[in-house]
Symmetry: C2
Subunit: 511 residues, 2 copies
């Protein structure tokens, strides 16, 4: 039977190879590809995707899965083999449920919609995008029906990014989050003059910024022998295997924190990808447990660690060394407050760690309503603006800075947004547990000793890759599941101190 | 029937996509891949190659080829369809003749041999490499037998790189070449003190060198919107499509001509690849007619143009602008003589345009003798040194600088070397024809006007890609075939003037 499993492994290894090749082509597209290369790149990517899909849904693959099933499960629930089989089954089952013509139609609709969206955003004219979004929502409803996961249409889409998570769980977690967040934001809004980040604004040489970013991620533990950092329009992490995990950043000449915190964020993703058990290479287990768990790693390093007082104490001297003229007079406390300036803003990707989640909530509510038929596409802009006013107290001056700002819906990515906030919630749950497990954690961070935290994450999360479901992983680490209270407590404690308000906002006592 | 042809086209388009993906992965491997990425990259490349091979030899492909054959041929000998069918047939026929296990065994043997070769070269110990070369020669003999092209074993291997060229033709061309070259080399050797390139030696900043290279290839017509230049250990050109053709160069800090002429060489390849008819993208026609024809383009720009008096007149001011301290006192004639310094040397890739071909001749003779059983692998080092003494009058001090210097044999590339010299021969045949066709060609070059030559090459060679066989292409352009006399005449005229000897060396009158 081991031989059958080896044959199954080889089959999925080829699928993984084709996916790795796609990843290289995508990375190149975002970093070094010349303008003329786009058309042939799209062709090559489509063919690679098709070749991988064909292998995944082939009868031979089903036969090998059936033959290896019992033997693999008998290796035990913590075994590579059992985890492999579960993940391989899940991938194949989802792929087989989707009719080929629906997949092709969605890809084509998204390709057209992306063009329309760019045009619509440039002109700030939602009507140019509306028919395309309408088409995509319709196709995604068909996709959700075909997948038939859970009881609600949105469940099927959410499950793609967050396995076994249900819409009702997200609603419940986000409801408590919203109730906790809105009062905190109100306190911050009423004290906007208490915190300034003016000291961080101003020209910093791009090469020096890039060198600083590389120095910082190297200190955090990113392994440049098994990866590299480049520039791209939007920062991202792209793993080809555990031994080649690329990160990028973007540089804003006049605002150093942009490149710096984007680098720390991607480094968090990359430590996960570099930390997966090498034995999982070329297997469906070489991935994160879910997008939410992945985001928990990037957010943990970017915000929970990266914007903490102890981290700032370590970071400031590095800045002062690279940019002595700009930062030599800056004090530690001033720096800490500046990187934590919060407040309502229009653009999600520029939002602080408090308001960010309200941007996500709004998107989740709108997209679930559209998919499940409670909101018409033509009514979405009004709904967007109403929620912006309700949650953040601001109204976008135009749709480009409102409903047209994100690429996700045009690309057919619905069910994806909630994972950002699930990651934020989990980041604090994980960090609190690590702090309990590691004596002197924060004293070490202040000295630049990140190994204890990185090793804790490696041992508890990274090395397991996709071997456990997100729920199994949370249960193993936390003895429980998703809980938004620690995240809210963290925000209340941190921002009540920075902005000088009472923790007991809106009548909820912190723990 | 057009529909059948379209189905055939789509099938080969997928094969081309998989090959393009391989090309991206190889380019990345040589430019940006971190050290850790090697193992998974090898896996991904093997899977891509396998997927392309499966599609190529599939029964469905044969059926489509059969069905489209008559219709395609009826489009006429100059048609896209007829050329497509011929190229596709040739690719499939060669692929089907090779047993899968032989291909796999060769790939494995080469992989092991490459490791052994590196070690052997480092230690300058041929005995470490000999058993691997013996194995590879044995497998290549089996490959040649399976392909069964021509009357001699070497024919099958040569045909892979130079379609329809036979060993006897190469022997005949190389015989006249040797007879012409050896006396020229002797004249040059006896006048070594007449030419010095000392003025070109000395530190030049690497960034400035790279900028100069980019400036020069841009002037020659390389389109940076459809390509880019990077650094790598060995310079190469890698096309992904006609609209994304990458080139690299290597920089020697103390010898500017290294990066500069490598860039011009690769630019020659790249102008070919960028100049192929865009309609040939994703078809088997999107390639050069042969390696020899490809090399003719790189050598034409590197040597025939790039080391000409008129080109040097245009180039020197660019050098003086970038490196005023080093080159401001250099005169045009001194510069021309310096870039044309010739003489026997040990290493092929560093050889001048005269002696280079003797390096190639030697390799061709040895590899043909080994494949056809006239030379044992264990006797090859002695044969190498004897020929070096015979042709160039020097003896390698060790095997690292002798028989172990090139990667080709370890990689299983036999039949490849002759194409370098075929390219040199053709470069002069093409250039002479272009000079007859283009009035004032060289006056234009002296002014930096490369468009007339580039357009001539584009119209006569580049745009046709692989639509014609090499013989058809030569017949169309030259009204004849390969002829080494113009190349010898070119060398005699040029070097007799530079080194001050009589053109009538060894009794052969120049034309």
């Amino acid at each position: 039977m081991k031989a059958r499993f080896e044959a199954l492994k080889e089959r999925f290894a080829e699928i993984a190879d084709l996916q790795a090749a796609s990843a290289v082509l995508q990375w190149d597209q975002e970093t070094y590809m010349p303008p003329g290369g786009g058309a042939s790149r799209a062709d090559a990517l489509a063919t690679l995707q098709k070749a991988a899909h064909e292998r995944l849904v082939a009868d031979e693959t089903s036969r090998l899965l059936d033959e290896a099933e019992t033997w693999a499960r008998d290796r035990g629930p913590d075994s590579f083999e059992a985890g492999f089989l579960r993940a391989a089954r899940r991938d194949q089952s989802r792929a087989k449920k989707l009719p080929g013509e629906l997949v092709a139609e969605l890809a084509k609709a998204a390709s057209v919609a992306l063009e329309a969206w760019r045009e619509a955003r440039t002109r700030s004219d939602f009507s140019l995008f509306a028919p395309h979004l309408d088409k995509i929502v319709g196709l995604l409803r068909r996709k959700a029906e075909a997948l038939a996961v859970g009881e609600r249409l949105y469940d099927s889409l959410l499950d793609e990014y967050e396995p076994d998570m249900r819409t009702s769980q997200v609603e419940s977690a986000f409801r408590s989050l919203r109730e906790g967040l809105v009062p905190i934001v109100k306190q911050i809004v009423s004290r906007q003059d208490r915190v300034s980040n003016a000291v961080l604004c101003g020209a910093c040489g791009e090469k020096s910024q890039f060198k600083l970013c590389q120095e910082v991620v190297r200190c955090l533990g990113y392994d440049f022998d098994r990866g590299r950092q480049d520039l791209s329009a939007h920062a991202f992490t792209q793993p080809f295997s555990t031994d080649d995990v690329r990160i990028t950043t973007r540089i804003k000449k006049d605002f150093l924190p942009a490149s710096l915190y984007a680098s720390i964020h991607e480094c968090g993703h990359a430590l996960y990808a570099q930390g997966i058990d090498k034995a999982f290479n070329r297997a469906p287990l070489n991935d994160g447990a879910s997008l939410g768990v992945h985001e928990s790693q990037s957010r943990l390093w970017e915000n929970v660690v990266g914007r903490s007082r102890v981290f700032c104490a370590w970071l400031l001297p590095l800045l002062q060394k690279r940019f002595p003229k700009r930062f030599s007079g800056l004090g530690g406390e001033e720096f800490y407050r500046a990187v934590n300036k919060a407040g309502p803003s229009l653009i999600r990707v520029e939002a602080d760690e408090v308001t960010y989640n309200l941007h996500v909530l709004l998107r989740f509510e709108l997209e679930a309503d559209m998919i499940e038929g409670r909101l018409k596409v033509c009514d979405a802009p009004q709904a967007w603006n109403a929620k912006m006013a309700d949650y953040l107290g601001i109204t976008p001056p135009d749709h480009a800075q409102g409903i047209l700002q994100d690429i996700h819906w045009a690309a057919g990515l619905v069910g994806y947004f909630p994972t950002y906030t699930l990651g934020n919630i989990l980041s604090v749950q994980f960090y609190e547990k690590a702090r309990r497990d590691i004596p002197g954690l924060e004293g070490g961070i202040a000295q630049g000793d990140f190994a204890p935290l990185r090793n804790w994450l490696g041992k508890n999360i990274h090395r397991h890759g996709r071997k456990y479901t997100p729920n199994e992983l949370l249960e193993r680490i936390l003895g429980g599941g998703l809980d938004s209270r620690p995240f809210l407590d963290y925000l209340r404690a941190k921002y009540s101190e920075i902005y000088g308000f009472n923790r007991r906002v809106s009548g909820i006592l912190t723990s």
